[in-house]
Amino acid sequence: MSEVFSSLAYGFSVALTTTNLMWATVGSIIGTLIGVLPGIGPVSGIAILIPVIYGMNPASAMIMLTAMYYGTMYGGSTTSILVNVPGEASSVVTTLDGYQMARQGRAGPALAIAAIGSFVAGTLSIVGLMLFAVPLTALALKFGPAEYFGLMLLGLSSVTSLAGKSLVKALLSMVLGLMVATIGVDLSTGIARYTFDVPQLLDGVGFLVVAIGLFAISEVLLAAEEMGGPKRETIPLGRVWLAWKDFAQSWWAMIRGTVIGFYIGVLPAAGATIASFMSYDVEKRLAKDPSTFGKGDIRGVAAPEAANNAAAVGNMVPLLTLGVPGSSTTAIMLGALMMLGVQPGPLMYQKNPDVFWGLIASMYLGNTMLLVLNLPLVGVWVKILAIPERILYPLILGVSVIGVYGVSNSHTDLLLACGFGLLGYYMRKRDYPLAPAVLGVVLGGLMEQSLRQALVLSDGSYWILVQRPISLVLLTLSVVSLASPSLISAVRKVQGEPQF
């Protein structure tokens, strides 16, 4: 335990430098802005800003990205409460009671409890992250190629199993991503695959190109089609203040939300959205009078807000210790880390302790910073809500193009990003989830290498994948995670319970 605290102290020495504090502040502000702005989701927002971190020190870059990630969560709750428009899926539940509170003239307490709940959950979950991270890293150090293959398959299958409405479409999306990852020179043999004699494809298709195309460009294209809905009505803000009675009423809801959120966040793919729904459900079941929920009960804001922030931290556990992202946002962060030359996973703890511990320490700072920034600045965020969406769309496209070109200086990459944008637009329209495709691109190369290395060790026998106990467990978990949503849904249908 003392090693954890000395490492954390080292992390603080990294995070508390003037430069990193500045990046954390910039990240918090940009993240909140993205969370508040209409027409751009957190994943797209983070994807288009990856070029900004290109060339930065990896520790500073990750500190900024993490602060942005947190910021989007905080920003999302503001729009949920004041406009009844969730900035992201995990804020949907907040609209149920948050917007009702705002309509009753209690927007201030709703925003305050959202910020405080997120702060409490974020801070407590970081302790959980530290406690989980070290033993998991130690276990992962025993992994060989077969275990790594199983781990990546688990990451892919768990993200795929919960993405979108159709498992077949989600699997197709994953296969598409893996196919894109095979483009370029094969590292083991030097053979060019699917490059069509285009020299720029020899290095493969960059993660940034795919992420910006599939997430940012496609989101704008779809939003442009859906533009012109009813005008958003923003409810007057009032005083952002929380009475002691409200705080006391919400305290246990926050704590329960934190525990549920962190636990669910650690499980690959079972992210913030499920955590927020589940914590809301638990509070409603525990309440003496459940009929107050949905009519402006402050616990209906505190619990899901705490849960989604705790899940965001929980999501970092598989990313940092095993190199497996548990959500779209952490998949983008994984790609960003790899772009900066850092391989997340057990070796990151040894090879890049500044990134690992700096990032954990920066989460404490990010939470404090967001609490300090957001409560006084909430009036500014409300004004930003008034920006018409149509102004934002061309600007997002402009940033996407400049970002891709600025990093690669390649026309081919630019056209590829546009192509992925159109593909992403169709995928969104036809309910093909995007996260499995991006994760496939990020993990595809490593997955193939692990499989080939494992088969070299076993003289070509596939049995190695099931003969090693950890590998067998991981493969079994992959199958279970793919099958579980269908099984749970079937059980719920039989029991007549509502589906999430």
Partner: protein, 154 residues
């Protein structure tokens, strides 16, 4: 075309891509004996997996057990993303020859006009955005942006 048959057609296209992908994989021959899997095995697995899934999707689409996209939009609204995409491609192609500043101002201005923004506000946004990002990329982040053939001699 109904939503269901639309899904089926998309799945057919995916199946065609998988077949082409599988044909491509046949051409990768490894000279290394030490690599039992070789460069073609992983793409072959993926190609077959994609083909099986696309076939399942075709069956689901035409048997009626399929999740469909959102409600169909009006023709004018459906055209908007394609016009925006066309502008984006033109912007991407013009970036090097016209240079960052000219191309970006023109792209933002035209797309804002297309989305119904008044000209004066479009001009302000286009110039402000292009100038701001030029400063951020070139001066702060030290990332070069194309100056364009017209300004190259200046």
């Amino acid at each position: 075309m109904s939503e269901r048959s639309h899904d089926g057609v998309v799945a057919l296209l995916v199946a065609a891509v998988c077949i082409a992908y599988l044909r491509g994989a046949r051409g990768f021959q490894s000279p290394l004996v030490a690599d039992p899997l070789g460069p073609s095995a992983f793409p072959t697995i993926l190609g077959w997996a994609g083909l099986i899934l696309a076939t399942a999707q075709i069956v689901l689409a035409w048997s009626g057990r399929v999740t469909t996209g959102g409600s169909p939009a009006s023709f004018r609204r459906s055209l908007r993303p394609f016009l925006l995409f066309g502008l984006l491609i033109a912007y991407a192609l013009a970036l090097e020859s016209a240079g960052y500043l000219l191309a970006t101002i023109a792209f933002v201005l035209i797309s804002l006009g297309m989305l119904g923004e008044p000209l004066w506000r479009g001009c302000l946004v286009a110039v402000g955005f292009s100038g701001g990002f030029y400063y951020l990329f070139v001066k702060v982040l030290k990332i070069n942006l194309p100056i364009g053939a017209i300004f190259r001699g200046w």
